[in-house]
């Protein structure tokens, strides 16, 4: 596949992510911090986001398995996860987190559990799309 086509495909993924509300203005802000001296800045930040998220998602899953449920801990982990989402512009995932917070506040376990399954789904969807996006950019960059 040629360079231009790869770049076009990547650009298409990027526009859809923005148009469909998976990503917001903050992602664009991160792109603006990238330059020739720091050409992989956005990807590096997103990679940190995956690592942080994996840890927090695991922690939340574990906390949801614990009996009795520690809603303070749940809320704390979710707050951290939401912060990370916000920092990279992961708008859709972040918005799903609001629902979780509300259930936490009223200590509604079922609500928390259900909402979290949705959050994980949205997160996985976003991660897959972003991985494809950066992979395409990488492949395009490797072609002279």
């Amino acid at each position: 596949m040629d360079k231009v086509r790869l770049q076009r495909e990547a650009a298409f993924i990027r526009s859809s992510l923005l148009d469909q509300g998976y990503l917001d203005e903050q992602f664009i802000q991160l792109e603006e911090l990238q330059d020739n001296d720091n050409p992989n800045f956005v990807e590096e930040v997103v990679t940190l986001f995956y690592t942080d998220s994996a840890r927090l998602i695991y922690n939340i899953d574990q906390a949801l398995l614990s009996n009795p449920t520690d809603f303070t801990k749940l809320d704390d982990y979710m707050h951290q996860f939401k912060g990370s989402c916000s920092s990279i512009g992961a708008k859709k995932v972040k918005n799903e987190c609001n629902g979780f917070g509300e259930y936490c506040e009223v200590q509604n376990y079922d609500g928390c559990f259900r909402t979290f399954q949705q959050i994980k789904q949205e997160y996985i969807t976003l991660k897959k799309k972003l991985e494809t996006y950066f992979q395409l950019l990488k492949e395009a960059a490797q072609i002279k």
Binding site: Q26, Q29, L30, E32, L33, N38, F41, E44, V45, L48, F49, T51, D52, H79, Q80, K82, G83, S84, S86, S87, I88, G89
Partner: protein, 193 residues
């Protein structure tokens, strides 16, 4: 106003002619990477730590007051930017500890938070924070803050200085020279709501 600016500059830790040294404190990996980049783009030297405890260690405050004879140059920090919500020591607690220190209290502290809580903003400002930034922090926010510090002007007015300088050894010339906070600047801080 020129006289006030001169007095203020003399009291601040010496700003290198070339660049500010900023100590950034945040428990989030993602946010540490972003703030570091924002500060580097704003031509600052950056030290990033992941907790309030480490920030105090870096400043040399962990074991009580630092000896003033210790080489201060290598660690000269001109600005501290800290996240509010951190496990262990919060940004607010870190802010208090810095303002309680006779050596470091003059270092401007900026607090960052993802939560837009008015009482939180007010208490940080009253405790002596220069500015309260909402996350995600933008490049324009960082540039504005660093520009102010570089010019040695301090931030938007005197309400904070009047409220926070309650201790007897406060510098009288500073509190009288800085103008009272105007309604418009107070509104601009709150306008982030």
């Amino acid at each position: 106003m020129a006289a006030a600016a001169d007095v203020f500059i003399q009291r601040l830790p010496e700003v290198s002619a070339r660049e500010l040294h900023v100590l950034a404190v945040d428990d989030s990996h993602v946010d540490r990477k972003v703030i570091e980049r924002l500060l580097k783009i704003s031509s600052c030297k950056v030290t990033v730590v992941d907790s309030g405890t480490r920030a105090l260690q870096y400043l040399g405050l962990d074991g009580g007051e630092k000896n003033s004879s210790i080489d201060f140059d290598s660690m000269k920090v001109n600005l501290i930017m800290t996240d509010y919500s951190m496990p262990g020591m919060t940004g607010f607690e870190l802010l208090k500890k810095i303002k309680e220190s006779s050596i470091f209290r003059e270092i401007p502290v900026v607090v960052m938070s993802s939560e837009n809580i008015l009482t939180r903003i007010d208490s940080c400002l009253e405790e002596g924070a220069e500015e309260f930034l909402l996350k995600p922090v933008k490049l324009s926010d960082v540039k504005r803050v660093t520009d102010f510090i570089m010019r040695g002007e301090g931030m938007k007015g005197g309400k904070r200085s009047q409220k926070r300088r309650r201790s007897v050894d406060c510098i009288p010339s500073l509190t009288t020279e800085l103008s009272p906070l105007s309604p418009s600047t107070l509104a601009s801080k709150k306008s982030k709501l």
